[in-house]
């Protein structure tokens, strides 16, 4: 089992549908406000091999969404996505890391426009 598998397992246990695409995972998440409010948005992450000990820092968003402070890069998920480096501010790597990542992703989604 690698880091992506552990990431998928943690989010799946929380009731989310998570799809593995090579070394990335894609989950559908609705943001509380902002650009992703209301409808579920496909988000991608590339958990490292030792996840949850170390978190992913790239968040892959649909190309139509942008985060403040900019600096997107092209995503391995294809042209429909762009990736943004937004490291988690206070990571703890344990069985609840999936929840922490989701909370972080939701807060970023709330800022997206």
């Amino acid at each position: 089992m690698d880091g992506v598998d552990r990431f998928v397992e943690q989010l799946s246990r929380l009731g989310f549908e998570v799809e593995r695409r090579d070394q990335l995972a894609v989950v559908h998440l609705a943001g509380p406000s902002g650009g992703g409010a209301g409808e579920a948005v496909a988000l991608g992450a590339d958990p490292p091999n030792d996840y949850p000990s170390v978190p992913p820092h790239w968040l892959h968003l649909p190309a139509g969404l942008s985060l403040p402070e900019g600096n997107p890069r092209s995503s391995e998920l294809g042209s429909e996505f762009r990736k943004w480096s937004r490291p988690h501010p206070s990571w703890v790597g344990d069985e609840r890391s999936g929840q922490r990542w989701l909370a972080h992703a939701r807060s970023l989604l709330a800022e997206a426009a």
């Binding site: 490292p48 996840y51 000990s53 480096s85």
Partner: protein, 492 residues
């Protein structure tokens, strides 16, 4: 040939003491679970859990004996967690490394068959000497096609707590001879302490401005086995603080580990030093494997990924890491506001490097995937972001190195029994030092997963060091010509 060692936390050691060293002076015994930690040349057994006997499990009659049900139960418990079985007993009147009596040998050999059959791992036999709390250990392995296991002595047993206690096998790790050059050192702490320090296997990760003075001091101290790893090369920008490096080293972009080799050769006082330096990153599989062959590690790097790898080793493989960090604060219009250096020892029941603030877990993947090497990424960070900090000064680096060495001495020599001082932060402007108890935050995953050994999540990855410039660049040739002209003028 693969060497063997055993490691345990002081918590486990205390539990074993309480069980094995009886008030009535008789022998006693217990079983325990161990996990493997496999280095390049050394396999260690990390004691993970003590399986204390219940009242009916053993009999004490001068010696001690156990009932088969206890052995079975312990072996199954070890197998259930993928660990091996250890069998421990005491020699209350003994001191130093203990040899096995013939009854001891026969008992352990019998246990070893079931241990291997049930757990798939060899039995580790251990003895606690009652007079000075020394440990001895052996591994019962089958070699070749023999059906009977034979005991192979371990080189050492280390106990990691508020100080590092190591019992060395006097046959496999004999006390080194003290050269006359070590007279003053030995007079500071005595022959026994010198013998223990000299036999430690010390790894220094990073031969930069903090690492190089440390490397020299360790060699001066008579430590026999010192390994230095660093994948970087000397650049002109390093010369304002890289001890031992010359302008020619920078022009030729010599590997820093070769400068370290020069420093070690000049400073060594051990009669037969076994010092080596390698162009290697601890972030690679080979680097991690090599690190696991050591008893204590100095972290002299300033990047999050290698710090993380060493943090993992400190907690999962019980190899303490003496870490130091430097921060220089400048004023907006120029000028020095202050400089700080902080030292700590990463070890179970202390503060891990993440909880001590020496690195941030979220920055590890940034380092690992090359983002920190990409100038364009760093430019997006605020100017005062720690990852952008590049200021350093020779005097501050030397002070930090001194502080790390002092921390090492507290941890290893244990003056006045005070051991590890915790997290120590030095403030240059105020000339003050601040100590806080080294403890992990509640919920720290490292503190909760001590002694996993080979079961650790792999923190290594492919080395992505930026491509090194050819030494025959135009810049290099021009610098060589200038140097040659300057030397010619000096000779004229």
């Amino acid at each position: 040939m693969t060497e063997r060692s055993v490691a345990m936390t002081s918590q486990i050691a205390d539990t074993l003491h309480a069980q094995l060293l009886r008030d009535d002076g008789q022998e006693d015994l217990t079983f325990a679970i161990w996990r493997p930690s496999s280095g390049r040349h050394r396999r260690s057994a990390i004691l993970a859990e003590v399986l204390l006997p219940e009242i009916s499990d053993r009999q004490v009659h001068g010696n001690a004996s156990f009932n088969p049900e206890y052995l079975l139960r312990a072996a199954k418990a070890a197998a259930a967690v993928g660990g091996g079985l250890a069998f421990l007993h005491s020699h209350p009147g003994g001191s130093g490394w203990q040899a096995m009596s013939e009854p001891d040998r026969q008992a352990e050999q019998r246990v070893s068959r079931l241990a291997m059959a049930t757990t798939g791992h060899p039995l580790v036999g251990m003895t606690l000497a009652g007079r000075d709390s020394s440990w001895s250990a052996r591994v019962w392995d089958r070699s070749g096609s023999t059906r009977t296991a034979e005991a192979s002595d371990c080189n050492s047993v280390r106990v990691v707590g508020s100080h590092l206690g190591v019992t060395f096998n006097p046959r496999l790790s004999p006390t080194p001879e003290n050269e006359p050059t070590l007279t003053r050192t030995v007079s500071a702490w005595g022959d026994r302490t010198q013998a223990n320090i000299a036999r430690l296997r010390v790894l220094v990760v990073g031969a930069g401005s903090v690492g190089m003075p440390i490397i020299e001091a360790l060699a001066h101290t008579g430590i026999v086995q010192i390994t230095v790893i660093d994948p970087d090369r000397v650049e002109l920008l390093n010369l304002d603080r890289l001890y031992g490096a010359t302008r020619l080293d920078a022009i030729l972009q010599r590997p820093k580990h070769r400068i370290a080799r020069r420093v070690l050769r000049r400073a060594a006082t051990a009669s037969t030093p076994q010092h080596r330096t390698l162009d290697l990153s601890v972030c690679t599989t080979n680097g991690l494997d090599l690190a696991l062959d050591h008893d204590i590690i100095f972290c002299c790097v300033d990047r999050p990924w290698p710090r993380h790898v060493l943090n993992v080793i400190a907690y999962h493989d019980l190899i303490p890491v003496v870490d130091g960090g430097v921060a220089i604060k400048t004023m907006p219009g120029g000028g020095l506001r202050n400089a700080y250096w902080q030292t700590t020892v990463a070890r179970p029941a202390g503060a891990c490097l993440a909880c001590a603030g020496q690195y941030t877990l979220s920055d590890v993947q940034l380092d690992r995937d090359g983002s920190l090497q990409a100038g364009s990424y760093l430019e997006t960070l605020p100017r005062d972001h720690p990852l952008r900090a590049r200021q350093n000064v020779a005097a501050v680096s030397f002070a930090a190195a001194g502080a790390q060495l002092g921390h090492f001495l507290s941890f290893v020599v244990n003056p006045s029994g005070l051991g590890d001082p915790g997290i120590v932060r030095h403030d240059l402007a105020r000339h003050s030092s601040d100590r806080t108890a080294g403890q992990c935050r509640d919920g720290c995953a490292f503190a909760a997963s001590v002694g996993l050994g080979d079961g650790r999540l792999d923190p290594t990855g492919p080395d992505h060091a930026p491509a090194r410039a050819s030494i025959w660049s135009t810049h290099t040739v021009a610098a060589l010509i200038r140097l040659a002209r300057r030397r010619a003028r000096m000779r004229a």
